[in-house]
Symmetry: C2
Subunit: 310 residues, 2 copies
């Protein structure tokens, strides 16, 4: 064609060099970390579009989906986080930022339900205020990475009720702060409390993310778990779950939160004397969950991940 | 740790195999294309997170940014498309889906301003109804891939006014359908009309995308252009721009829409007789833009792109 341009300085867009051309547009970003993030994002995003040869119709569907996902979010619901969750991105970010080096309890996603403070409770108290579910005694011990007990460690726990809902999802239905407690470990780092065996429950599936799960024949369930957030002075906190072995969704968590090192059996105890001692009907279920924290001065683990604690 | 799990069937999430584990969750997707898209998306998304070792703070900022981008969109503004534009994704999708094989006019992004129908006009009519800007005679010819004239081809054109706004952005300020026209090429495929030399203008930069551009020291401007949408029976339509050589933003289009084959000089004509003939004040600017369409029965170009038409 005639009229070749003159005086064009920069490199124009081509299919072959699309990522390089767009990345170059970010070359002047003052913050070097932001420049790194955007350069890498552009490279991976363009590689995706090219790998699948995304059609204009598919691009339009993706735009509409992302728009609705943002618009479905409000003060009490975060659909973009939910999308990150079901794509395994939340769990990947969590894992990368909390590598254990094999010497401490593995972390998993915080989730959206730690939105109210757990009430301080005495060791042994029952956090199941609604009288539903299978009674369970939870015991454990908080230690440092070398097994030294962490006296006075704070153990914050929360879980869904036997109907599969957290208290904050059912205001006025469940007792306030049902199935939440903040416990202080004893002088030997030990903690114990009464609760119920958790049950699996679905993530919110009436929005765009639910449509995605339906279109891909994925179920929306999370396997049964109790949340733990454990802290102790001079140590790195850990946000994690205790999972129930044998849960039907243990190997297909909708948000990929399950790590093998966090799964425990919940054996039945049939012992009237012991039941009376702990204040539960006989028989009852039990579970033991030890938590090991890294010291705050231990360097974060960078580079290639090491094997899982197990 | 004690209590090793039993009966776990599927593969659990690990940092090393995160993409494989998440992709496997989509293995049951009934639509094979959707399965392919999500599998590839997960691989590239996880590779990005791992390459940059995304921090939890950065992940949170990304979630908030995407949420606000969706929420900034409404009936008359699409901020998610704008994000796709400034990351070069819109242009990449456009380019992949409209490979020319080097024998036809290259396409570029449609943009958000083709939202009203252009009014049918006679060849030679003036589409600049607001009296602003530098008068210009636009001429061209529509042909098939082998240069055969396409009599009666429809040439739909639209552009911003001399203040950098489209008519639909300034209802009540600009005359209705200012700088829009639908022309029918003559028996020799030729078209001509009067307009103004376009000027560069900024994309909307008062939302999240504007914040991104500011944080990365990128300007929001698009180089001056006239939009063309050219159709003819039995041929593939083309959506493209005519760009002005020498525009200060010709090599830094905020949305990467510039292709070298679409840039033209707009030479001055100083010829009172010719000016009187075309109905413009003397001197005036001119530009010539030929458009070549592929035949509808020509197969789409797949696989590696060929060289650009130039």
């Amino acid at each position: 064609m005639p009229d070749a341009p003159s005086g064009v300085g920069g490199e124009l867009f081509t299919e072959e060099r699309s990522a390089e051309v767009v990345a170059a547009s970010f070359a002047g970003t003052p913050d070097p970390r932001l420049r790194q993030l955007l350069t890498s994002l552009v490279q991976h995003l363009h590689a995706f579009v090219k790998d699948v040869e995304l059609t204009e119709e598919e691009w339009g569907a993706a735009i509409a989906f992302l728009t609705r996902t943002g618009q479905t979010s409000d003060d009490v619901r975060q659909e973009v986080i939910l999308l990150s969750d079901v794509l395994g991105v939340s769990m990947l970010v969590e894992t990368i930022n909390h590598r254990t080096g094999g010497t401490s309890t593995e972390s998993t996603v915080l989730g959206p339900f730690h939105m109210v403070e757990s009430p301080p409770r005495q060791l042994g108290e029952n956090i199941a205020l609604d009288g539903k579910g299978e009674p369970c005694l939870v015991t454990g011990r908080v230690t440092g990475p070398d097994g030294e007990p962490l006296a006075g460690a704070l153990v914050d726990v929360w879980q869904a009720n036997d109907d599969g809902f957290y208290d904050v999802q059912q205001p006025g239905v469940q007792p306030e702060r049902n199935l939440r407690g903040l416990f202080t470990a004893d002088g030997d780092g030990r903690f114990w409390f009464r609760s119920i065996v958790p049950r699996h429950y679905p993530i919110p599936d009436d929005g765009p993310v639910g449509e995605l799960l339906a279109a891909t024949a994925r179920h929306p369930n999370r396997p049964a778990h109790v949340h733990f957030l454990v802290t102790a002075p001079g140590h790195r906190p850990v946000t994690t779950h205790l999972f129930v072995a044998g849960d039907p969704y243990i190997d297909s968590d909708a948000v990929f939160g399950v790590k093998e090192s966090l799964i425990r059996e919940f054996p039945v105890v049939d012992d009237p004397a012991r039941a009376a001692e702990v204040g539960l009907p006989n028989p009852f279920r039990t579970v033991h969950f030890d938590v090991a924290l890294l010291r705050a001065d231990q360097p974060a683990v960078h580079g290639a991940p090491v094997g899982r604690a197990s």
